[in-house]
């Protein structure tokens, strides 16, 4: 009989997870500088979690998950961050698994879920296209039926970790409806080893290659790889984003940035400078109050409620605060802000430029902050269009 982790006390749950991370995550993988390590770089941690049965926190137990509710899942994510666990390629765990569990056929579940847990299949997510970013519904990658297969042509972009993935789930256009552009989109599972799939990594501002372009050139995909109904992919894809939306607004990144700012400020004696102290106080209080705001939404989940559209506010505030803290750190760096490399502070280092550049991204991904504001204007403030 598997442990019912939801029934375990929060403290015991934390301790169990902490022990596991100590056991299966080697020190060099803790608090990694790299935001998105490849599968091979973190495989030992991935497999360690899988063997202990802790890899898929929200999947039902029958599928090899822990069956955690939102309350315990939030602790899981929080502890992961606190313990400095590296980000693992998690599209399989976080998106494909839930997608198949809700909408997949028995065959799809039986084939894919165990291979996600074993790490045999590493997934990436093909949503954005060169001309379909914020306006995702205008996507043009086409899948045309040909007998028992679909033939896919087109291009995806900003596909995170595609260069170390071997499967991709893509949104493709299967028909056109001039009135409702969201209709006619289908979710397709594609083996990236199929002929006609080509991946080109894109270097980002931090000099890393987290994301890629993925080209599809007459790629034949068996029709049984459609998830859910044909032409209903928009609804299918949207349905898997539940309480996880709160994590986009978690204060984790600004907390890390604040720790770096404080470290550099101590090394530079900046806390004795009233002008700095004033700017620091503003940022410090923004972070403190973000914690209070996050707690309000987290409490809704803990008490069994559902998140409203208003949770977008956390995403906007946390990503913009992350930017402002890293900007202050660069300002404090003085002429050291010319360095791409980390700044030495005595025996320690501060990755001021690394975080400043990293902070450009979260305000864009996961729905740009401008899109978030549009959503809030409509769904929360009910402003007219």
């Amino acid at each position: 009989m598997a442990t019912d982790w939801n029934a375990v006390s929060d403290d015991d749950f934390r301790q169990a997870f902490a022990r596991l991370v100590e056991d299966c995550c080697p020190p060099e993988l803790r608090f990694m500088r790299k935001q998105r390590p490849t599968f091979d770089e973190v495989a030992v941690f991935y497999h360690g979690l899988a063997e202990a049965g802790w890899l898929a926190p929200t999947w039902p137990v029958e599928h090899g998950g822990m069956g955690l509710g939102p309350a315990k899942h939030m602790i899981y994510v929080e502890e992961w961050g606190r313990l400095g666990g590296p980000r693992i390629p998690d599209h399989g765990i976080g998106l494909v698994g839930p997608l198949l569990i809700e909408h997949g056929t028995e065959e799809q579940k039986a084939f894919h879920l165990p291979r996600i847990l074993s790490g045999e299949h590493v997934w990436c997510q093909g949503y954005s296209e060169p001309n379909a970013g914020s306006d995702l519904a205008s996507l043009r990658t086409a899948a045309v039926r040909d007998g028992d297969a679909f033939v896919v042509n087109g291009q995806k972009i900003w596909t995170t970790l595609a260069h170390c993935a071997n499967w991709i789930f893509v949104l493709v256009r299967t028909s056109r409806d001039e009135k409702v552009r969201q209709k006619g989109i289908t979710v397709l599972l594609v083996d990236m080893r199929s002929p006609g799939v080509r991946v080109r990594p894109i270097a980002n501002l931090r000099g890393e290659t987290d994301f890629c372009e993925v080209f599809f050139d007459d790629v034949r995909v068996p029709a049984e790889n459609v998830v859910g109904e044909i032409d209903q992919g928009w609804t299918v894809a949207k349905s898997v984003l539940g309480h996880e939306r709160i994590f986009l607004g978690a204060p984790t990144r600004p907390e890390i940035a604040m720790e770096r700012l404080e470290k550099l400020a101590r090394a530079r004696g900046a806390f004795d400078d009233p002008a700095f102290l004033s700017r620091y106080a503003k940022l410090r209080l923004d972070l403190y109050d973000l914690g209070s705001a996050f707690e309000r939404h987290a409490r809704i989940l803990r008490e069994g409620g559902e998140l409203g559209a208003d949770v977008s506010m956390l995403k906007i505030f946390t990503t913009e605060l992350y930017q402002r803290i890293t900007e202050e750190t660069l300002a404090l760096a003085g002429e050291d802000a010319r360095l791409f490399d980390d700044i030495a502070t005595g025996n320690d280092r501060v990755d001021a430029m690394n975080l400043f550049l990293d902070a450009r991204a979260p305000a864009i991904f996961g729905g740009s902050n401008e899109i978030q504001r549009n959503i809030l204007a409509k769904a929360v403030l009910r402003l007219p269009s």
Partner: protein, 369 residues
């Protein structure tokens, strides 16, 4: 829309909100403010009486002293509602401040008299303790007070003053009846349509029984009263912010230009969303401070209250400023209520520490550990 979220098991909070709404129906906040301003008065005695009758002036005062003995949660909900309704009689600066002092003061007849008068509305006890200094010299049968204190609310309408004087042993609070010999008052207009007094004491004699809070307990008690007042001010400011936002949403969705409501334009929508988001943060900060205050009086509560007053003050002033702008030329008229919200927000934000000062106090307290 933004508001405080608390468990309301026995319905007290809902009752408080309803009671503010009911009173505001008879004494609309903006109209009362204008009438008071027009009359050149520092308070609306009738409104204050109605508020006392509703139990708001003694909400936090202990039951032994004639109050309701309620806590930060109930006070925050009341203050939030007063902010929304723009009811400007000084509940935070008067009732909350005084109740906290009286609750902690040792048994004494004069303190009990003032407390009872505060709760039933029969006395107006003006507070003179912050902007200025008063020396209290012990004489034969009491004390002689000399000095001046500025920015005293309800100074003109006061029946009594609670004055902080510096004794040999430190600060102490004295009860000084209005109209005694040696007492003088200068008045200035406040931005929110009232009067602020500068109280001058020129050798005022107070009997020994007028020492309400002695120097032995004055400092920690004052700290507690300031914290409670800041929390109530924060809740009131959050209420002001929420109402100013709502008024601006209502205005921009009905104001038609270029054939459409101006709230349909993205430039306006994003501004409104940012205002809403600032208000949400303010309410989250106040919620957090109330919970910390209920959990105890330690450092965590002190930090949370500093944060809440800073956040709510900033939010209220900046939301009202943007609200005035989004009302266009109408917003610049005295006839439009939105300007009154801005002025009230500025005034409350300036009380007991502006945001910058509070933020610095926060980081100093945090870094002292």
């Amino acid at each position: 829309m933004p508001q405080l979220h608390f468990d309301d098991g026995d319905g007290t909070l809902e009752m408080l909100r309803d009671s503010v709404a009911a009173l505001a129906a008879h004494h609309p906040g903006a109209a009362s403010l204008r009438a008071r301003r027009e009359a050149g008065a520092d308070m609306d005695r009738e409104l204050w009486g109605a508020m006392a009758e509703a139990g708001w002036t003694g909400l936090m005062l202990s039951e032994a002293l004639g109050g309701s003995g309620l806590g930060p949660r109930e006070q925050a909900v009341l203050s939030e509602a007063l902010g929304r309704a723009l009811i400007c009689e000084p509940v935070a600066g008067s009732a909350v401040f005084l109740s906290t002092l009286f609750n902690g003061a040792p048994d004494n007849a004069e303190g009990a008299r003032l407390a009872s008068g505060l709760a039933d509305g029969s006395l107006i006890v003006a507070r003179a303790w912050r902007n200025g200094t008063v020396q209290a010299r012990a004489d034969g049968d009491g004390f002689t007070l000399s000095g001046a204190v500025a920015h005293v609310d309800q100074a003109q309408g006061a029946t009594d003053f609670l004055v902080m004087g510096q004794c040999e042993g430190g600060p102490a609070f004295f009860s000084v009846p209005a109209g005694i010999s040696g007492l003088g008052l200068d008045l200035q207009r406040s931005v929110d349509g009232a009067l602020l007094g500068t109280l001058r004491l020129d050798g005022c004699h107070v009997p020994a029984t007028g020492l309400v809070i002695g120097p032995d307990i004055c400092a920690p008690l004052l700290e507690r009263a300031v914290a409670a007042t800041r929390l109530a001010l924060a809740a009131e400011l959050a209420g002001i912010a929420a109402q100013a936002l709502q008024a601006t949403i209502d205005y921009t969705t009905t104001r038609i230009q270029f054939g459409k409501p101006i709230a349909s334009f993205q430039a306006i929508q994003h501004r409104l969303v940012d205002m809403w988001s600032d208000a949400e943060l303010a309410f989250a900060a106040v919620n957090n401070a109330v919970e910390e205050a209920e959990a105890g009086e330690g450092r965590a509560a002190a930090l949370a209250i500093l944060a809440a007053k800073a956040r709510a003050g900033d939010a209220a002033v900046s939301i009202c400023r943007r609200a005035v702008h989004l009302h266009g030329a109408m917003g610049f008229t005295d006839e439009c209520d939105i300007g009154l919200f801005l002025k009230r927000a500025i005034s409350l934000n300036a009380m007991l520490g502006q945001p910058e000062e509070l933020r610095l106090a926060f980081v100093n307290l945090e870094r002292a550990a």
